[in-house]
């Protein structure tokens, strides 16, 4: 039988129907089929978290998910953070900028998508809870302290704004 599979996914609210090879990862599908390059691919075997996206609002490593397994799912990627009307950065993005939460930026999309899930569920996380949540994401250059600062700042800003 053919290994091509027909899938229907909603990515950042847009519906896509595509024929994909069964072995294609969701990360490669997003990057190469949909040209959504914001989702980064570091290790391609589940260690670094750079490829984190939300699948049905739950954080997941898109390199450890086949595109076919995302059939009929809602995918949210880092491209969806920015306000589509005003173009303004999401408070999480702005906080990473302001608190120096990134240097080369390679790991940043993964950290931000992980932060999005955390702050949706827990708008006022303790330092311990932030560390626990970010434990699956690696950064090789910024240093985790300023990433912690960025998440704390994002939490403050999201609480005090109605934007969220």
């Amino acid at each position: 039988m053919s290994s091509k599979q027909r899938i229907e996914v909603r990515v950042n609210g847009t519906r896509y129907v595509r024929e994909v090879e069964a072995r294609l990862t969701l990360a490669d599908f997003l990057r190469h089929e949909l040209s959504l390059g914001g989702t980064h691919v570091g290790c391609e075997h589940g260690i670094c978290g750079a490829c984190t996206v939300l699948i049905n609002d739950q954080s997941a490593r898109s390199c450890l998910t086949l595109a076919v397994q995302a059939d009929d799912c809602d995918i949210t990627t880092v491209e969806n953070l920015r306000n589509p009307e005003t173009g303004a950065l999401h408070p999480i993005q702005q906080s990473f900028v302001d608190a120096h939460g990134l240097q080369c930026g390679f790991c940043t999309p993964g950290f931000m998508m992980t932060t999005l899930e955390l702050l949706r569920e827990n708008p006022d996380p303790s330092d311990e809870q932030i560390k626990e949540a970010l434990g699956g994401n690696l950064c090789r250059c910024t240093g985790y302290q300023s990433i912690m600062d960025s998440v704390r700042l994002a939490a403050q800003r999201m609480k005090s704004s109605t934007l969220g």
């Binding site: 039988m1 290994s3 599979q5 090879e21 069964a22 072995r23 990862t25 490669d28 290790c43 391609e44 075997h45 589940g46 978290g49 984190t52 699948i55 739950q58 954080s59 997941a60 490593r61 390199c63 450890l64 998910t65 086949l66 076919v68 397994q69 059939d71 992980t114 899930e117 560390k131 626990e132 949540a133 434990g135 699956g136």
Partner: protein, 291 residues
């Protein structure tokens, strides 16, 4: 770092899945079940595994549940580990299994990884097999010859190998009621939070009138499967639940290990040392636990 090509099937029902596995087996196809993919996908990416076909269980919603079955906790194989971690029922009914679940990987891994997948994968460093050995755990599987129940001590065979047939689907795990007075603890050492442990210990015991009874201790991360530390268990039976006895039990447990695994992260001797320390610590933690 890309998986080699394979055929892909996503059967809609358990019957279809078993029929498909049976047909593929008859055709001599090297097939693999995929659940959450959190262990299998890295193996495919690294090409440590190169199956000709994958049978995906993602459409089997009937295997996604957490239920109280007359006191027994039943968890469908396709239930995510995060769902188990978030379940008040799991936390109340099986506190040790719940604590172990929170130690598995990171949130992203628990969101996708299934409860059944961790047992079926039988990674020697996983918390789950050790927990199964110190609780009264049974596994339910369905294959071409129908359903069967497998007790935990017959389920784990060796390194990443269970007694499941290749045509069988693990459908559920069942934990017999955990007596409220029973003590428990799980302790592990990992290089980073969320990593697979270098070594760990899960245990349960009763403390009656200050004496240890019915002690069950299992070590993980050290041998080809999780192992019961029978020497430590026997040493403690009927003995005072005190630090000195826990220290001795740790030594006995460590000494009992055959030949702990060795890798660049931890030598065999270091893993043996860890088991001694973690056993003593876990016993202390369990004894001090108030209900």
């Amino acid at each position: 770092m890309k998986p080699a090509p394979f055929d892909y099937h996503a059967p809609a029902t358990l019957d279809e899945a078993v029929a498909l596995l049976t047909r593929l087996e008859d055709e001599g196809c090297d097939m693999k079940i995929i659940a959450g993919g959190q262990s299998l996908m890295p193996m495919l990416a690294l090409r440590v595994a190169r199956p000709e076909a994958l049978v995906d269980l993602r459409r089997l919603d009937t295997l996604n549940y957490i239920r109280d079955d007359a006191g027994t906790l039943a968890i469908g194989a396709m239930t995510s580990k995060q769902a188990a971690a978030d379940s008040a029922l799991v936390k109340r009914a099986q506190p040790l299994f719940h604590a172990a679940t929170e130690l598995v990987g990171h949130r992203q891994i628990r969101n996708r990884g299934s409860v059944g997948g961790s047992f079926a994968h039988a990674d020697p460093a996983s918390e789950y097999p050790a927990v199964a050995l110190v609780l009264d755990t049974e596994f339910e599987a369905v294959g071409p010859d129908g359903a069967r129940t497998i007790p935990a001590d017959e389920f784990f065979v060796t390194y990443m190998t269970t007694s499941l047939e290749t045509t069988e689907v693990l459908t559920a795990v069942r934990f017999a009621p955990f007596a409220p007075q029973r003590r428990w603890a799980i302790q592990e050492f990992a290089r980073r939070n969320g990593d697979l442990a270098l070594a760990g210990v899960a245990l349960t015991l009763n403390v009656d009138g200050g004496l240890c009874r019915d002690v069950r201790i299992a070590a993980f991360g050290v041998e080809a499967t999780a192992v019961r530390l029978t020497a430590a268990e026997q040493l403690l039976e009927g003995q005072p639940a005190q630090a000195a006895q826990f220290e001795q039990a740790g030594k006995a447990g460590a000494a009992q290990l055959d030949d702990p695994m060795s890798c660049i992260h931890a030598s065999s001797a270091y893993r043996r040392h860890l088991i001694g320390v973690l056993t003593t610590r876990a016993l202390g933690e369990a004894a001090a636990r108030t209900h």
